[in-house]
Symmetry: D2
Subunit: 146 residues, 4 copies
C-alpha cells in the first residue's frame, strides 16, 4: 500500500522535525532510531535538566517519554500527530549520562495509536530502567497544525 | 500536632526549593501560591518551550503538571517528596502568554498523596484549560535525597 | 442548537441503557442522576462483589468509574460512546453499603470528552472517597455499535 | 535468599486465593499461570458480562487487567498486595470466547511493583489484543488485610 520507506531517509526526516521543536533543541534531544512504529530518543544529561536532589527532573523524563511516544505512534498515522494523553511511572531516580527513551506502538487505528515507552538512564555503559509510560497518539487534523 | 504555618513563609520556602531546581530555573517557572495541599505554578511562555507547530511543547505542560502535583502532595507529607506516577490528558493546544498549573491533594495517607492538577493557558487575561492530570506523590526516604 | 432536554426523560433514557448492559444488571448498578456532562451511578455492596479481604473488589470500583465516565462524556457527544482509556487511583478500601460514582466532563471536543470521576463508599450515611479516576470517552462510529 | 518455589504449588496457592474472591468466582475467572513476576488470568465470556452492544463490558476487561497486575506484582512483594493505581487503554471491542490477561512486573521496589498487562480476546483459536494496562501494586500492611 505504501512505497518502501528508506530507513536512513525516515530517520533524517524525523531528526529534521526534532530540529524544528525549540524545546527539544533546548534539551539537546537526539533522535537515534525511527522506523514505522518505533522510536529511540536520547537526552544527554546536563546540569540544567536536574532537580534539587541532583536527579534528572521528572519533567524531562516525561518529556522524553511523551516525545518518543509521539514519534512511534505518529510514524504509523500519517501526517502530523500529537500525544492526546499518557501515563508515566517513575521507577528509579535518573542519575547518569544520558536518558534513552524507546517507544513502540502496540495498536494502531485509523486516527489513533496506543504506544508504550521505556525510559532508561545510561551510566558507564549500563542502562537502567527509570520510567515506563503508556499513551495515546492522535493524528492532528491538518487545520490544527498551521 | 504542627505549629501554625505562616503562609508567606511557606510560599517563600517553596520558592526557595524551586530556585534549587535547575530545570525549573531554565523554564522560568514561578511558584505563585503554596498552601497545605495546594499549589499554583506558572511557566511564562517563550519561544524556547514550543514545539514545531508553535504550541507549548507537551513536555513543558507535563513538567508543569508534574511539579505542581509534587508541591501539592509534598506539602502534606512532610520532608522531601517526588511524583511516583501521573497521568495527563491534553485537551487544547497551549497557545498564549503563560501556563498556570493548579494542583490539590484529594487524599493523603501516611507516605503518599493522590493529587489532581488543572493546567490552564492564559491569553489576554483569559484562562483556558489545556490539560488535566492525576497522580501519586510519595515521601522520599531521607537516604534517597542526599 | 438542541431542543431543551427534559431531565426526567434523560434519566429514564440513561436507566434504560443501563438495563441493556447485562454486566451492570449483574452488579445491580443504578443510575441516580444523569444530566449533560454529569452522572451519578450507584452499586449496592453485596457479598458477591468482594475480594478476599472483604473489601469491594477493585474491579467493581473500576467498573463503576468506567461506566460513570462513559455516561458523563457520552451525554455530550451524541450517539453511542465508549471509554477509550482511563486511569484510577484507589485511595481507601471500599467497605460499606453502597458505591457512589460521580463523574463529570472537564472538556468536550468534536468526537471525544475528557472526564473525571470520584468514587465514594457510603457507610451509615457517611460518604468516604475511595477512588478517583480520569479518562477519555469517544463517540462510537455508528457501524461499530450494531 | 528464598527457597526454591515449586511452580505447581505456587499456581495452586494463587488459585486458592482467587477462589476466596467472591467477585472473581462470580465472573468465573481462572488462574492459568502464576510464576514470580508473571500471571495469566482468564475470564470465559458469557452473556452476563457483556454491555449493550454485545461486547464484554469494559469493567470486566479492567477487572481482568487489575487482578492480573495484582498477581504479577504481589508475587514479588511477599504477603498480601493490592493495586494502588492503574491505567488502561481499550484498543478493540472484546468479542469472542475468552479474555486472557497476561501481566508482568517491570520493576520491583521494597514495597511496590510497577507492572504491565496485555489483555487479549480469544476467538476460534486466535488471540487479539483488546487492552493494555500499566499500574502500581503495593504490599498491604498486615493490619489492613484482616
Amino acid at each position: 500500500m505504501t512505497a518502501a520507506i528508506d530507513p536512513a531517509q525516515m530517520l533524517r526526516a524525523g531528526q529534521a522535525i526534532l530540529a524544528t521543536q525549540p524545546f527539544s533543541v533546548l534539551l539537546g534531544a537526539e533522535l537515534h532510531s525511527f522506523t514505522p512504529g518505533h522510536c529511540e530518543l536520547h537526552v544527554p544529561i546536563t546540569d540544567k535538566i536536574r532537580q534539587q536532589h541532583g536527579f534528572v527532573h521528572g519533567g524531562v523524563v516525561s518529556y522524553a517519554a511523551d516525545n518518543a511516544l509521539t514519534y512511534a505512534g505518529g510514524s504509523l498515522l500519517g501526517g502530523a500527530a500529537v500525544t492526546s494523553e499518557f501515563k508515566i511511572n517513575y521507577v528509579r531516580p535518573a542519575i547518569g549520562e544520558r536518558l534513552i527513551a524507546r517507544a513502540h506502538a502496540v495498536h494502531t487505528g485509523s486516527s489513533q495509536a496506543v504506544c508504550r515507552c521505556d525510559v532508561f538512564v545510561l551510566t558507564q555503559g549500563v542502562e537502567k530502567l527509570c520510567a515506563v509510560a503508556q499513551g495515546t497518539i492522535a493524528r492532528l487534523p491538518a487545520a490544527k497544525t498551521s
